[in-house]
Subunit: 238 residues, 2 copies
Amino acid sequence: MTGPRTLPTQGAPRGRKRASHSLEAVLGAAVALLDEAGAPALTFRALAARLGTGVGTIYWYVSNKDELLDRATDHAIGGVLALVEGQPQSDDPIADLRAMAIALFDAIVDRPWLSAYFMRNTDVQGNSLRLYEKLGQPTLRLDLTPRQRFHAVSAITSVVVGTAADLGAEIPPEILDGTMDRDAYLARFAEQWRSLDSAEFPFVQEIVDEFAGHDDRDQFLAALELTLSGLRLQAGAG
Amino acid sequence: MTGPRTLPTQGAPRGRKRASHSLEAVLGAAVALLDEAGAPALTFRALAARLGTGVGTIYWYVSNKDELLDRATDHAIGGVLALVEGQPQSDDPIADLRAMAIALFDAIVDRPWLSAYFMRNTDVQGNSLRLYEKLGQPTLRLDLTPRQRFHAVSAITSVVVGTAADLGAEIPPEILDGTMDRDAYLARFAEQWRSLDSAEFPFVQEIVDEFAGHDDRDQFLAALELTLSGLRLQAGAG
DNA sequence: CCCCGGATCGAACGTCGTTCTAGTATCGAA
DNA sequence: TTCGATACTAGAACGACGTTCGATCCGGGG
């Protein structure tokens, strides 16, 4: 009456007899909607239409939109987790950290809607905890205190989420429609910046060319590298 | 017909004759609503009620909710900018960078709604550009390439926004009502984490005590320090 | 005096999340 | 076979939201 008993956080849908729509189907359709047109496209009515059911049916599997979003996010993070778990372990823990952070970043670039809901996922169990564990494991091979390890992982996730969110934010609708390409968009900004008073805005003048031609991935990699080199320094001085 | 001609991004409201509600008043009320009860509290009806007007009036000053949010955010960032500009410049550029980042972080902690709208503010002009400039100026005193300076500032803002967003997300309604205090909330998580299989979750087991008693500000300061020490290393090796 | 344009107002529209009631299919027990 | 409980489906309805629109007010220049 309040919903299906439990959901397997992993694995195939176990013996549900003849349900035409499982929770898995709902989540899959939700993720598809999010992928196709972002967060505003995920409405109960659109989801019901896609599944060929009524809105009431969705509420049988999920108690409200927050839970739908949480479960859909966890569903998507499952994919990232699989990727990260498939990565081979190297001799250098920091290199492993880097590889995982990049995999996570790429996943968010693929699904920009993830960044908005990534941080508010307070699930104790689920895939995000498992991902957190995976991200933390390389720090166990570093000469750090538990506190330093804790801070290191949160620093790395901050960099990933922070830059990815920044990235997802800078995409106004004009550019998604193909009306205007990214370079022209950046160039318009750059031009306005160049016209600023260079006595009042010396820094902006200094970096405007870099901004005009910047690559988001390079920007992320540079930020990540700063954190990682700080971490390497910390581990070496232990 | 489409709104007031322009808005002074700074300064007193100039000679508007007898408007009972200026844009400044609208923005002030909007920020007040956001401060009192967060983003969901800011609705056109609530705002109109607070101003003692109709909803239509607000649309005279602002063309839609996105613009309202952008302007309100910029309004709030003006306060941070004033704080940052009031800080004295020291001999150490990195220390200045640190101080600014901390001021920004504290401002977001004060106004958690800022984190959500901080990144999507793509205004070319306005206070966020000025703040960006201020954040970048210390890097001019560092021995770096323009590209490195550009990356350094975006790395720092990523850390600030990333951790602040993470922080704002981990506040479920129970804790804001005073129903449950933060320590008990963290302890509940910690307990569930402790019951996990330690072979499968070695890292979580390692840091669970740190997590249970962690301070958000310390977490941010640690992440910031990693980036700054990486930056110092980069500047020294120039 | 009238009129014109800046400024104000609130009813109304469409969409959203959510609730509720009615309904159908399946199965074990009587 | 009948009955009721359980699992699930369906869509009308409600209130709140963002937004639009025509009506209205009001001061200053003709």
